[in-house]
Amino acid sequence: MYKHRGFALPFIIMIIIGTLVPLCSIVFYGFTDDTGNFTIENFLAMFSEEHIKALIFSVLLALISTFICLILAYPLGLILRKSKLGKSGFVIFIFVLPMWMNFLLRTMAWQVILERNGLLDHFCQFLNIPFVEIINTPFAVVLGMVYDFLPFMILPIYNVLKSMDEGLIEASYDLGAGKFTTLRKVILPLSVPGIISGITMVFVPSLTTFVISNMLGGGKINLIGNIIEQEFTVSANWNLGSGLSFVMMILIVVSMVIFTKLDEDGEVNLL
């Protein structure tokens, strides 16, 4: 092992520049006020009414988006697992394709679709129904989140379902279980790892996004991400911004640890 230590150097440099330095700066700014004196005000600020409200709202929207992604992705995975089309990977390719487009562009596209005089408006006029105005509402934000992050749910779930041993499913039928029992007792428990990583990969970016809420919320939807972003850009209060980000980071890490722990115990309970 020691002989190959040299190869790790680029990664160590990357970790230092990309992770440790920013992290230290955040901690440093977080613990100081604008005159450079030590304070914990910036952290406590998270628990002000305004911020807590934004946080709860963010968590709520992120949970809803994650849930919608899950109930879209799982059945899709189940269907694709069986079909020839799914095995070839082509359908997955189609679903994942948007991921290769710029994130901002994708979100902007939804803006163009949803806004007044946008595609949806024209479509409503064509059908002679009143304009379904969802732009600048939480619905639009959730829609944006689901659209942007769905591939991150589909991929891990599809992978775990695709690589599942068909023999286990046949064994379940063989022992008298029907389709539903097999799904509940065999397929679902065995796909928990994919579900977990899907949930993590959708929930975390949904929780911290500010781009989607900016573009599709029209400035009316204030998520915790927006507040932090504004502290950095508009108010130029790096100290508060850092303090809030740091608290968010800790919240996310802690909840992920609890979540995966729950799963480890839950895997047994699921039976």
């Binding site: 046949e170 379940s172 029992t181 895997e267 039976l271």
Partner: protein, 357 residues
């Protein structure tokens, strides 16, 4: 004869343009240990999967106790399978695996507990209830797979090369275990293997298959002693398969010498295949037998010596407990009832099959 339990009626099955089963018919009786034997890829697993309901035949029907079950889902069949790769659920422990089928059929907790104890005792794995599947050896997993299947008291147990992954000693132990299980449980076993020894040891009836066609069906003794064609003769142990022709009933000419035999009804001056088992070839002093030759090869393979004797332009495979060194001149003698006469394969196609093996 016991009641007919399963009847396969003229099954055909293709995957793409690969025809795997070509009109296979078979009936299985109650409490029978029947073995499908054949080389890799001959369609054994496919046949078993059709009986289990995991595969639908293109043509032909499957009957179970007289009822057509061809289109019945696997979970509605009174049949359980021990899969070629065990297919134990990795997210459950031993106990949960065994209980799976019983839970599905909503048996009481007490009944399930009793059954688990009984099954673990049966497969000699008491005390393994809480063990993780991945912590078991191949042989133990195999026995758990068996336990998981039999607790459901199926009428038929399908076993797909369940001993394939085991070492020789464990395999032999398991063979006896299986026979004991079958006798104790009184259920019908349909067993798949490509190991002829396994088939001969355990079965009441052996079905020799090749390329999706049944070559011969019968008791192990019939299959071994009276192979109906060169494929069967060759597949069931080493054999001398020699070109010959029938002089008339009960007299066959091999290597230019007339041998008395016990078969008749092959016509006169008809070309035939003659099968002689290596252990049935008796060696003696030159001139004292039916045919003279010379030992050209000799290896000791445990129980006996295996020799090759060049005689009458044919290399005779001979097994004997007495050794004859290479170069020794010997004579060959074969008793009449150890000579098995078979028809020559009819078509080129069939001949090609024979050469494959």
């Amino acid at each position: 004869m016991a009641k007919e339990l399963i009847r396969l009626d003229n099954l055909t099955k293709s995957f793409g343009d690969n025809t795997v089963l070509k009109g296979l018919s078979l009936s299985v009786h109650e409490n029978e240990f029947i073995t499908l034997l054949g080389p890799s890829g001959c369609g054994k697993t496919t046949t078993l999967r059709i009986i289990g309901g995991f595969e639908k035949p293109d043509e032909g029907r499957v009957f179970f106790e007289g009822k057509d079950i061809t289109d019945l889902e696997p979970n509605h069949r009174h049949i359980n399978t021990v899969f070629q790769k065990y297919a134990l659920f990795p997210h459950m422990n031993v106990e949960q695996n065994i209980a799976f089928g019983l839970k599905v059929s909503k048996k009481s907790d007490e009944y399930i507990k009793e059954k688990i104890n009984y099954a673990l005792k049966l497969v000699n794995l008491e005390g393994y209830e809480k063990r993780n599947i991945n912590s078991l050896s191949g042989g133990q997993q195999q026995r758990i797979a068996m336990a998981r299947a039999i607790v459901n008291e199926p009428k038929v147990l399908l076993l797909d090369e369940p001993l394939g992954a085991l070492d020789l000693k464990l395999r032999q132990e398991m063979e006896y275990e299986l026979i004991r299980l079958k006798n104790e449980l009184g259920i019908t076993f349909i067993y798949v293997t490509h190991d002829q020894e396994e088939a001969l040891t355990m079965s009441d009836k052996v079905v020799v298959m090749n390329e999706g066609v049944i070559q011969q069906m019968g008791t192990p003794e019939e299959i071994y002693n009276e192979p109906q064609n060169a494929f069967v003769a060759d597949f069931i142990g080493d054999s001398n398969i020699i070109d010959g022709f029938m002089i008339h009933d009960k007299l066959v000419n091999i290597c230019g010498v007339d041998f008395p035999c016990v078969d008749s009804g092959f016509g006169e001056n008809k070309a035939v295949d003659v099968v002689i088992r290596p252990e049935d070839v008796e060696l003696g002093k030159p001139g004292k037998g039916q045919l003279d030759g010379e030992v050209i090869h000799n290896v000791f393979i445990g129980v006996h010596y295996e020799m090759e004797v060049m005689a009458g332009d044919y290399e005779w495979l001979v097994q004997s407990t007495t050794s004859h060194p290479v170069g020794e001149k010997v004579s060959i003698k074969v008793k009449a009832d150890n000579i098995q006469i078979m028809h020559k394969p009819q078509s080129k196609d069939e001949e090609a099959l024979d050469l494959d093996v």
